[in-house]
């Protein structure tokens, strides 16, 4: 792979200027990101050694309404304007089980271990068929949620964390993980502003926290935030204050990504 020779690009001309939310045409020269070590959390995917992956895996985590999709769309535009190829992935997008998973959720018929394994299958399918091939080809892979959401949701439902860590030993450790943290009260407002309704699963209604959906939503999101803060200590992701404006958040994400791509500047 031609990119494998690249070590540092500190001297490259103005890589990724960060303070513009909207991309403008760039200089013709496109600096190549530096190569950084990669690793799996556990045994990984048999046959694909982590050191053959030259692209970058960028993960954005956060509840519905935290601004994830907005930020990802902006990052894609920004990265592409700087000449980087991008690929997007997210939960429940595998061709293998997406359909069944959606049907199961609509009917609320699966118990917790089953649902957990269904999501893990969906994840495994995407890591093997989309994420790893794209990284091998040197793309920037933007993941709209990753294993941390799956783990947080399961832990809140009483699933053993050691069991989950073993399960997700197939996952690649991302180059950078952002968690957009938004208070439950603000999330409620944003969800209502968008669709005037709260989602059954995002409200954790299956947990029986409260029959009142509003109460359940707030309680459930609080439990999830707690888990994310706890997981942060293990997985060292960047917690981003999501209560700010989209522009401010973009700037923070771009800065951090520029550092990941080109080192300290």
């Amino acid at each position: 792979m031609p990119r494998s020779k690249v070590t540092r690009t500190v001297s490259a001309p103005a890589p990724c200027s960060v303070d513009e939310p909207r991309p403008r045409p760039r200089a013709a020269r496109v600096p190549v990101p530096r190569r950084t070590p990669k690793r799996y959390y556990g045994h990984g995917v048999p046959g694909i050694p982590a050191d053959t992956l030259s692209g970058k895996l960028i993960v954005v985590e956060g509840a519905d309404g935290s601004g994830r999709s907005t930020q990802i769309a902006r990052l894609v535009a920004w990265l592409e304007s700087h000449g980087h190829g991008t690929v997007q992935v997210g939960l429940k997008r595998s061709s293998l089980v997406r359909e069944e998973l959606e049907r199961a959720q609509a009917g609320n018929i699966l118990s917790r271990t089953t649902l957990s394994l269904f999501y893990a299958t969906d994840f495994a399918d995407q890591i093997e068929n989309v994420i790893l091939p794209a990284l091998k080809a040197g793309f920037m892979v933007l993941a709209d949620r990753y294993i941390y959401t799956l783990m947080a949701r399961d832990i809140v439902r009483g699933i053993d964390e050691v069991w989950l860590r073993n399960l997700y030993g197939i996952a690649l450790a991302p180059d950078v993980v952002f968690y957009l943290e938004v208070s439950p009260e603000e999330l409620v407002q944003r969800n209502f502003a968008k669709s005037h309704a709260l989602d059954y699963w995002e409200s954790g209604m299956d947990l029986g926290l409260s029959r009142d959906m509003f109460d359940s939503f707030v309680q459930y999101q609080r439990l999830i935030i707690e888990q994310f803060r706890r997981l942060q200590r293990t997985y060292a992701f960047t917690i981003v204050n999501g209560d700010r404006s989209a522009d401010e958040i973009s700037r923070e994400l771009q800065q951090k990504i520029a550092t990941v791509l080109f080192g300290q500047r």
Partner: protein, 227 residues
């Protein structure tokens, strides 16, 4: 994981599993056990590997379109098992049923490892399951099981012959290599999980005459009578 049986966990019901390579005749044997128990008026439930309705459609799509890798093959079967385990097996065992399983987690332990998944990973995933109260392993030679498949039905199935592993281009040759490796895995697990090994090269009746007394000896069948 799998350290305790259902009896040890205080379940009133009992789980009996049969294992063996394809063509070992285990399905015939468990069917005859089922009929025998039913005729005694006992509460019996029979469950097959890979039979959860919802998961099955994903599995068959995956198999048909060759989408499955060793990792997803393993996970989708674990999903299927979890669905049956949580929604059927556990509630029935709580209700005092004799649950008969044609294949249990050992099938996954053998197959997934032969396909290249790490043993600890696979076992960890099935860590939520309890150990059967009784496990019969039907041991055949490869020649006998291959002959049975030929006699009874059909061509070898793609995954049964392990064709996805590209061990050989000829299905029979591939079957021999793949099922041979499975047999090794099963035998290695046999002592660890206390399999009752039945010589499955014998006639159907001879095997059944071994299985029935053993079962009656281990499980107080009268306790499982339906009202």
């Amino acid at each position: 994981m799998l350290s305790k049986t259902f009896a040890e966990l205080g379940f009133p019901g009992r789980l009996i599993a049969v294992e063996g390579i394809d063509g070992s005749g285990k399905s015939t044997q468990i069917y005859l056990v089922k009929r025998w128990l039913e005729q005694q008026g006992l509460k019996v439930f029979f469950s097959e590997w890979n039979s959860s309705e919802l998961v099955k459609s994903a599995t068959s799509r995956g198999k048909k379109t060759n989408l499955l890798t060793p990792t997803t093959f393993s996970l989708i079967h674990a999903t299927d098992f979890a669905d049956r385990y949580e929604r059927q097996l556990v509630p029935l065992l709580r209700a005092g049923y004799l649950v008969l399983c044609d294949r249990y987690v050992f099938t996954a332990f053998a197959r997934d490892v032969v396909r290249g998944c790490p043993p600890d990973w696979v076992r960890g995933i099935y860590g939520f399951a309890a150990r059967p109260d009784l496990t019969f392993f039907f041991r055949t030679t490869l020649e006998v099981s291959l002959q049975r498949i030929r006699d009874s039905r059909r061509e070898l199935k793609y995954f049964e012959a392990g064709m996805d592993l590209r061990l050989a281009t000829d299905p029979e040759e591939s079957y021999n290599i793949f099922q041979g490796r499975l047999l090794e895995q099963y035998l290695a697990m046999s002592r660890e999980f206390g399999f009752h090994v039945i010589d499955a090269n014998q006639p159907v009746e001879a095997q059944q005459s071994l299985v029935r007394p053993l079962l009656a000896d281990r499980i107080p069948l009268a306790d499982y009578a339906a009202q």
